[in-house]
Amino acid sequence: MNENLNRRRFLYLAGGATAAAATGAAAWAGLLREQVNGAPTLTLPGLTTTTTSMTPTTTTSLAPGQGPKNPVLVIVQMQGGNDGLNTLVPLNGRYQDLRPTLALGDHEMLDLSDAQDFALHPALAPLLPLWENNLLTGVTGIGIPGQGRSHFTASDSWHSGRTSPETTGWLGRWLDATANGPANPLRAVSLGGGAPILTAESQLSTIINSPRNFRLSTPPGSDSEAIVAAFLQTASPLSGDPTLAAAQMAIPSTLEAIEVLGVDSGVTADEPPEENYTSLLDTAAGLIDLDVGTEVIVVSVHGFDTHSDQRSRQEKLLANLAAGLASFHQRLEANGHADRVLIMTTSEFGRRVQENASGGTDHGTAGAQFIIGPNQGIIGQVDLDNLVDGDVPIAVDTRSMYATALDWLGGPTDEILGKKYDRLLDNLP
């Protein structure tokens, strides 16, 4: 019953129909920017904000296929604390002693050629070709000293890159530090929910819970073009009330993101709403294909908090992670983007070495992560003979992984992290 606004209609309603249709997203973005041109710049404590003083002359970077082939960082979050020990398995006898029921059997694990000391969880089989092609790095014993075992404090540390309270995320600070010219809300996109690592002082990012439901519909009997144009217009002039102003500023960036990403056809209400790594990374690949100046993509899936029934729960999650990453990488390669995309997994903590009686593990400290990019090997170590409070000791500081990511994006790395951390990969371009 609802009329779905598709991309073409958007371009039409943006006015100057034919010219807009000819130049695609750039024209639409330009019109958006004209609409909000002249609005004051605001900095609002605690709210994601944007600079709205944009000019239509600088929208060329948004033209599909014409933008600079910038490096892209993709962060794949495993929310809830993935068990690193059963992900990148340390091959020493202690592992199976310490995990009497949860340990993977020797026959189950997947060997990594050239790596004598570690094996992969069997559900990660789709990642083996990346290892064989020198594109997969495992980082183990990774954490932030002092991060704690609480979901919230550990997440805060991983998001901010600091153990002291901090309102911005490490990538949010990078967005602020490298802001150049008009704000592009598609520069940083989060798929699958909120992304505190993108929280910035001044720069806006686009947060999409469910790409499949990301579209606009207008009611029958209404004037779609007029209503959407009017919706855009409610964004200016900006109110002096900072909360209202933040709600206003969300509108142009939403319309711009829908123009680029929004789906055309209706999704029925009975379609399962759950997104997973495969679906979210598919959207991420589409975004990179569009080449609209996206530099950072964050993909998040919950469910790794395996206090019970870990075997089957973790297996499903890792299988989906590996399938999603493998098909994502294949698509990047097919479309010629693989060389400019670095992928990293994160998770707020690893889990306790000792299993509990519920077939699960409780919150721990150091965990294991993967980097997909121009490198291969295992970094870090798992010292099961010298546990700290029952946890794997931290051997690699998470900020070293962040430093590597920030170098990939072009820095300024040490300024953003507040200190010079070792880099993990040495043969980055």
Partner: protein, 437 residues
């Protein structure tokens, strides 16, 4: 002398911050009532001769037969779960006791139990009923009841936690999220409370009470938060409920929810003192916080979350949006009642400014405008271009912003007369103004 503007603004603030808005009829019934009187009635309806509505879940469904398996069981669960959700949404919309529903939702966000983990819809519904039962009651009673509530025992693995290898999931969140905050306990306290809370299980197929099995329990006396001799639920909760950080932790969380951007951390000790002095009774705490809000002259706005936006839009317009459309809107906004996304509860208000939420709100606004009765006051205001009346009816007591007024006027001029109502009402409902509370 209190001006009538201040009274109107206070009434609007109270009904929007401790409830989810008012129908035009309810608005007119408030004329002449003082804000303090309304607050007293809402906090303690019975002593003002008002009847507390029955639990909307009461008698709604029979337990699911144990014989059902797999697909049949899943279908049955899905169907019953939707019945409860529909009854809940209907209660939010029509309740005569708005604060009871608001506080029930506050505790739902606080404890964040999700039906995704619980599975059985009756167990989940009983959990919400328990929150409703204690919503304005005593926090100690609430926390003790929640600790051995089957839904919580499933959600945070308490029912799997046994003496020799306790599961820490609930013990940690009990202190960190539910009572005293992360800075007030140690890892040793987590281990101690986890051991003391072992032994509870849920008989298979029973949606009633959890039972205690001594053989699954570790009864060794331990030291929790500096107090020795803790060995079971009762002694653990005695220590936690007596901890000096608890009143401030709970008072601070409730104050943030009610006062939003006007929350002042310096007021927390005062709120906490009232809460502690009343033996953790929740009603006096609500009163002192709400009164602090009423005492302010220049209040700041707060982002209205999707449940509040939806219920306010439906109440003020009278639109009969289908249950499927309501639940679809809430699910895609990441705020489906009964399914908080993680143990921290629903997202913070500002997260609802995301691109996703902005898009689904726009679409829902159009559906609600389409279904708004053509003989309603809201429709009359939208078609005639009476923006002051429209703002008041929709719950914006101070009127619309300049940006919205300008846009509405222009839209009204630009669209044909027969499209005035649908276009202007859609725009007003979708606007940033309606997202402010």
């Amino acid at each position: 002398m209190v001006t009538s503007d201040k009274i109107a603004s206070d009434l609007a603030w109270l009904t929007q911050r401790l409830g989810y808005g008012l129908t035009p009829d309810e608005q007119s019934q408030l004329e002449g009532i003082r804000p303090a009187t309304l607050l007293a009635r809402w906090v303690d309806p019975e002593s003002h001769g008002l009847v507390i509505p029955p639990d909307p879940f009461e008698g709604l469904s029979e337990p699911i037969p144990l014989s059902l398996k797999d697909e049949e069981l899943a279908n049955q669960r899905q169907m019953i779960s939707e019945q409860y959700l529909e009854a809940w949404l209907n209660e939010l919309l029509t309740t005569a006791d708005p604060l009871l529903e608001w506080m029930t939702f506050f505790w739902h966000d606080h404890f964040a139990v999700t039906k995704t983990a619980v599975g059985d819809p009756l167990t989940m519904a009983n959990h919400i009923s328990l929150l409703r039962q204690h919503a304005r009651g005593n926090f100690g009673d609430l926390l003790r009841a929640v600790t051995v509530d089957p839904a919580m025992l499933i959600f945070l693995d308490g029912s799997l936690s046994v003496g020799e290898q306790p599961n820490e999931n609930f013990g940690r969140e009990l202190m960190e999220v539910y009572s005293i905050g992360v800075e007030h306990y140690t890892e040793a306290d987590v281990a101690a409370v986890a051991s003391a809370l072992t032994g509870w299980e849920i008989p298979e197929g029973d949606t009633g009470a959890a039972v205690f099995s001594a053989w699954r329990h570790d009864d060794t006396p331990r030291t929790l938060l500096g107090v020795s001799g803790v060995h079971d639920v009762e002694t653990s909760l005695d220590v936690i409920l007596g901890h000096p950080a608890l009143p401030g932790f709970i008072a601070g969380k409730l104050a943030k929810a009610i006062l939003g951007n006007d929350f002042d951390v310096n007021q927390v000790p005062e709120f906490a003192e009232v809460f502690a002095r009343h033996d953790l009774e929740i009603s006096p705490l609500i009163t002192v916080i709400a009164q602090a809000g009423l005492d302010k002259t220049n209040r700041s706005s707060l982002v209205r979350h999707p449940v509040s936006w939806l219920i306010n839009a439906l109440k003020t317009t009278g639109a009969q949006l289908s249950f499927d459309d309501q639940s679809h809107f809430l699910r895609t906004s990441n705020m489906l009642p009964g399914q908080p996304p993680h143990v921290g509860g629903f997202p913070a208000p500002k997260d609802y400014l995301s691109a996703s939420c902005t898009a689904v709100r726009f679409t829902a606004a159009g559906k609600i405008a389409h279904l708004t009765p053509r003989d309603s006051l809201v429709w009359a205001a939208a078609t005639s271009g009476d923006w002051d009346a429209l703002a008041t009816l929709l719950g914006c007591s101070a009127g619309f912003s300049d940006a919205l007024l300008f846009t509405l006027r222009e839209l009204w001029v630009n669209v044909p007369i027969r499209k005035h109502g649908i276009s202007c009402l859609t725009l007003a409902l979708a606007s940033p103004d309606l997202l402010m509370v």
